[in-house]
């Protein structure tokens, strides 16, 4: 039986520009929001999974044309989107995930109902959605602690990466190694015929 293999990309949507409108989180007056928190602010209200899907499809169409669209369309789906953390999990077929990854990299602003400039960063690539979820949870926890640490330290400009930030996972979790980078290695059962190799 031929099983379609997928890749789940965990992405962060970062907002590099300063917030033009008011509606800041409640802070003391005269207290500048540190950069870490600013970059990872919640998405605008109109943003949701559908907008993201549209962004990706348009991006792939623009970069890779009809050929790319056709390859990717069947399996592309936004599995999870969180407005509060500006995180999403996107499913793509295993053979073409780099196309979608490139389309995300080339995205400069969110499409029209939202229209904000953004930077999309892929943080994890894994073969199962479970691993992506776990990674998302871990990052959310870390970011809360980092934001707390940054708020505590009076220096608002730097991200306040104090050593006080406790680690939830030990060092055996290193998702960065030279060969795979942020991609999870393939399940040994999954390594079969690799039909087209883009790497």
């Amino acid at each position: 039986m031929v099983r379609i293999k997928h890749r789940y990309l965990l992405i962060n949507i970062l907002y590099p520009d300063p917030k033009s409108t008011s509606g800041r989180p409640a802070t003391k007056p005269g207290d500048e929001v540190p950069y870490t928190v600013q970059f990872r602010r919640p998405s605008p209200d109109r943003m949701d999974g559908g907008v993201l899907t549209r962004l990706i499809r348009d991006g792939v169409a623009e970069l890779f044309g009809d050929y790319g669209s056709g390859k990717v369309a069947g399996s592309l789906q936004v599995k999870y989107f969180s407005q509060a953390t500006s995180t999403a999990i996107v499913r793509v077929s295993r053979d073409h995930y780099r196309l979608v990854w490139a389309a995300l990299t080339f995205a400069t602003r969110l499409p029209n109902p939202v229209g904000q400039p953004c930077v999309i960063q892929v943080v994890r690539v894994s073969g199962t959605i479970r691993k992506s979820e776990e990674e998302a949870i871990r990052r959310a926890r870390l970011s809360i602690r980092q934001a707390e640490a940054a708020a505590k330290s009076s220096n608002a400009a730097t991200a306040g990466l104090a050593a006080a930030t406790p680690q939830l996972l030990s060092t055996e979790d290193d998702d960065v190694d030279m060969i795979n980078g942020i991609e999870d290695p393939d399940d040994p059962r999954d390594i079969e015929e690799d039909l087209d190799d883009e790497g």
Binding site: Y35, T108, V119, Q121, T158, T171
Partner: protein, 324 residues
Amino acid sequence: MPFYDLNVPWSTPNSELPRTLSFLAESYLIEPNADADVCAVGYNVVALNFTITGKLPTNFACAIPDPLPFVVPSKLTVLRRLTLVLTTPVNNAALTQLASSYDILAVRPVDEKSLLLAATSLDSDIVSLDLTQRLPYFFRFKTLAEAVKRGVRFEVCYAQGVGGDAVSRRNLIGNVQGLIRASRKRGLIVSSGAASAGACRGPWDVINLASIWGLGQERGYEALSEEARKVAVTARLRRTSYRSVVNVVYGGEQAAKSDKKAEIREKGIQDVQEKRKVHVLDDTSPAESEKPVSKREQKRRRKAELEKHAETKGSVVTPDHTKM
């Protein structure tokens, strides 16, 4: 495994720059032990790039002030780089003089002749081309290979291509492919050239782009970390040692190499180790024990020595490992 971004443009009204630097340094996962690499998701070393077009200025001081006029993210190391656009012919003497006040020197050729000049005779660390223009010439393997042998690396800037303009994107992809083919995937570095935070991309995203364009995941990773590290180290060797071959090391009980620039800490590890080995063979230093010094000891010594700000030259001359 640090990531380098060797092209962050510097201009005098630099209101965007603190934000851009913070964005690049965004480190999300912090490993508990200090030795391991900090940023899983950001850059560790950044070079501020000041561009000069046309005639060389008479004043050879560094245009980028030291210390920087704004707050720099704590984990980020900042280098200073100069890019010279080769519209007029320059000679090596002027280049070396200009380069001595910066950490890295780059040249930007404008046509095939200046490319040949830059690759074969000019004494720069990086050759950076504007890849968003249609280039009327092809890249030749001989030129590029000769340059790489001399230690010059070719730079690809991704910011203009990512910016959204279709024409520059197409040109960038086409030129990068030509560059990759002609250089046989060696001797390339990738940097951002991002004028604002919105043009920056995470290192793994950049590596993915490079792999789509034909470089491959491994080589792409090298381009962003190893090759860029080599550029920074070679540049420093060119400036602080005699013809990049011989360097006088502070002798005595501190066997570590004296660093003028305290920022470039870990980069000389290989060099230092190599020197260590030759040291043992030469048997000139009284301080060396019978067995070669362990890495931990080297690191400790280097740290101690940095804190003492060792300046004077010692009595021991050790051969440097040759530039690549």
